[in-house]
Point group: C2
Chain length 410, copies 2
Amino acid sequence: MSNKRDLQIIEGGGVATAQGFHAGGVFAGIKTPGEDKYDLGLLYSDRDCAVAGTFSQNSVLSPSVTVTKDVVARGRARAVIANSGCANCAVGKQGLIDAQDAASIGAAELGVDADDVLVASTGVIGVELPMNLIRDHTPRIDVRDGDDAGLEFAKAIMTTDTHPKHIAVRYEASDGSTVTVGGCAKGAGMIHPNMATMLCFISTDADVEQSFLQSTLSDAVTLSFNQIDIDGDQSTNDTVALLANGASGSPRVAGGDEDSERFANAVAYVNRYLAIELARDGEGARHLITAVVEGAGSDVDARKAARSVAASLLVRTAVYGRDPNWGRIMMAVGKTGISLVESKIDIFVNGIQIVHEGKAIAYNVQSVIAALDQPEVELRVDLNCGDGFGEAWGCDLTEEYVVFNSAYTT
Amino acid sequence: MSNKRDLQIIEGGGVATAQGFHAGGVFAGIKTPGEDKYDLGLLYSDRDCAVAGTFSQNSVLSPSVTVTKDVVARGRARAVIANSGCANCAVGKQGLIDAQDAASIGAAELGVDADDVLVASTGVIGVELPMNLIRDHTPRIDVRDGDDAGLEFAKAIMTTDTHPKHIAVRYEASDGSTVTVGGCAKGAGMIHPNMATMLCFISTDADVEQSFLQSTLSDAVTLSFNQIDIDGDQSTNDTVALLANGASGSPRVAGGDEDSERFANAVAYVNRYLAIELARDGEGARHLITAVVEGAGSDVDARKAARSVAASLLVRTAVYGRDPNWGRIMMAVGKTGISLVESKIDIFVNGIQIVHEGKAIAYNVQSVIAALDQPEVELRVDLNCGDGFGEAWGCDLTEEYVVFNSAYTT
């Protein structure tokens, strides 16, 4: 878990808050127009970055992801060009041509090498990228530094999100210098309709060795975005990328020292914050559900069980209905097949114990219903058989989810 | 796949249609009363049966299942006592005592050994079995042969099913004698709320060697009930049991001959029929969704992909909204991680092709919307890369599902 104590949260911060990072967005007409809408964004670093990434495991993959994976494999990047409104997926050979073309357009605009440009697309599947719009509108993007620039980029990657998600944090390195880690994200997995791509970009002015950057990101994603895969679906375009440009001048980070710990803590915090915001903004959601499993045989077991609880349709509808249906929570934990002893299980809803040693205990039903009425509901399961700890996040399942997703037309 | 040609379907048949099987049910007051309601049933064979079973893999298991697993492990049975309205789960040590007591009550009533009585419970979790009701009302059950008796038993295991599901089939054995296989089932996995137990009992007058009986049942369940696990949840009480009493006098079946093939075909047919009926009767369902995947690298891959399509919330809401959203189907296939070549994928909706070689083709949108308006919707995916075939069944996801499951109170 990340530790907030050593971090300074930067109000309004985002992906262009760290030194040397610039960003911006425009409305290019790729998605349907609307107030304060953006659908094309650029993120730029004024110097070379080490880059790390994690991607969708779906066998059907957007060529935009393919291009980005290649950049990450080379380990060096300078920029990101991202669009919403079109996923550039399932369009045949044209998809890769267009993704490479998008990288070139971004590179030409920013004066960098096309091989150093990540590409991200999200939106409708089966429709080719409107390259003319991207070509015409990329030069209109006002690429600049500052929180407002980062906000524009955050808006440019949104699809059905009700608001942009962004954050930046700072910490003091061992030499007294200040390191910033900022990021933005959109729409989580299956929470959202329309192929529901989950995108996240994080930028930092720390100077980080590439393999440590990758392991730090992978660890953070394991504990955050991988714990909000609400209903097990996985987009063709999911991408989390982390760019580190070293502009802070702080000591190089490569693992095994105090600076590395501070850096990993900041990255974990940003990932966790953004993942939770995605879960909270789930389609039709009224409640953020936090599932906590402790006392499991291992952290892996605990995370598996927590995710099962947060993802269960029966648990999610019960929370929506403010129903303290602990049998559904037991079922969701049990179906993972992790080792447990039924007679040791304790369950708590927002701190109120409702199950002791595997059996219902007398609790004030009105108190629990009131707890379930809070915008944030914590379902905590203590297996009392080990030290394993895990968290996962989701949202309740409402009629609105069904209406929204059945009304959406390709 | 089962072959219907060699089977005679018995109108109104069920679990008491095969020779030597008797059944019946009463309303004991375990669940809320209502017209034509039953909540306690007995199934009885007038002679020893070989018995096979498959059970929930959930780590939290009802002691009723524990008792039944022990009977199946011994391989011999004479009867089943089943109740709805109470799952006998998560009630501590009392659960096993009550399950054993239920077996004894059934055994005393029927004059058989308690070790030969299977126990099945479905309903609310966390509530102890009302043993007084079971003790008082079991003697009231009119245990008799015939389709009407089987229907009573089928009703006695129902919870939120809108109607009982039962079937019987006959085939001619190699010596000209007639063999009957009949069964009934209730509520499929997570389709239904309230822990959603899936129960199925099949009886046959074939004379079957026990290990062949088990492998025949396991194979049939793999292709039927295991392909309708709608949203990945698994009850604490799921049970499929098959009793074979040999009353037909037909040649003994032990695998490797024509009679064995006929028997396995009949068992597969009954399982498949009941599984599809469970999917069709899913909570709030308007459409039965049949997902067919062919041309996969293996049958296992095809079944995995078909199940992913039938279980996807995005696919299920799209069918409800009559939206030919093929991107969601591609996503659901791709997320399983099975081997595929995107540019070879063809997709059909009730026979109308909408995707060719991984890309949308021109189709008449109104025809596809009309196809999606049928009560049965077949989504067929041809991966064109092998001979693997698989089917899975589900239902559309509607607002009613959410309303029903959020309104339910423990």
